[in-house]
Amino acid sequence: EDQVTQSPEALRLQEGESSSLNCSYTVSGLRGLFWYRQDPGKGPEFLFTLYSAGEEKEKERLKATLTKKESFLHITAPKPEDSATYLCAVQASSAAGANNLFFGTGTRLTVIP
């Protein structure tokens, strides 16, 4: 069964304190791994797509990496505006519902000024 596990559940960082969020996945045939950001009271917002092990994507202070079993979202020198819940999702190459996204429960990041 396809599964996505994110850790930690919550993370508090001082402004400027770099860290990483983890997304472990079990899926039969990975079509893509996606990172989304969700602010309170809003819908998830797309950040990155990764398709194969070794791939990396960067955007401002965020960098996403992918291995065969997990993905990391590295946050370098975070700012308070980076505070949000970060969701990881996988898309499987299964025959049924190939466009299904299976989401993890997210990491709630708080960056303290």
């Binding site: 893509g32 996606f34 819908g43 819940t85 466009n99």
Partner: protein
């Protein structure tokens, strides 16, 4: 101009009532979705429509009935509401049925009393 808009934003109702949530996207996308996010922030797909046709119907009680009058609209009607239906419901859209890059609405918080 909001890309994916859903109404209402809040919905408070009594058990046993019937209610509808509306969703519209102005992105010209072919595919639309309904997701349910529970109190633990777990986001799970309920339905997916591609060009007005149902392509994903997860294990959802048949009290939930989606309707897509055209590819820019996907509404969700819920009959005989139960306490367990309380959640945030998100509408989303993607360019194609295979794309994992989805654009979400702001959500409808449903509270069943």
């Amino acid at each position: 101009d909001t890309a994916v808009s859903q109404t209402p934003k809040y919905l408070v109702t009594q058990m046993g009532n019937d209610k509808s949530i509306k969703c519209e996207q102005n992105l010209g996308h072919d595919t639309m979705y309904w997701y349910k996010q529970d109190s633990k922030k777990f986001l799970k797909i309920m339905f997916s429509y591609n060009n007005k046709e149902l392509i994903i119907n997860e294990t959802v009680p048949n009290r939930f009935s989606p309707k897509s009058p055209d590819k820019a609209h996907l509404n969700l009607h819920i009959n005989s509401l139960e306490l367990g239906d309380s959640a945030v419901y998100f509408c989303a859209s993607s360019q194609t049925a295979l794309s994992g890059i989805q654009y979400f609405g702001a959500g409808t918080r449903l509270s069943v009393l």
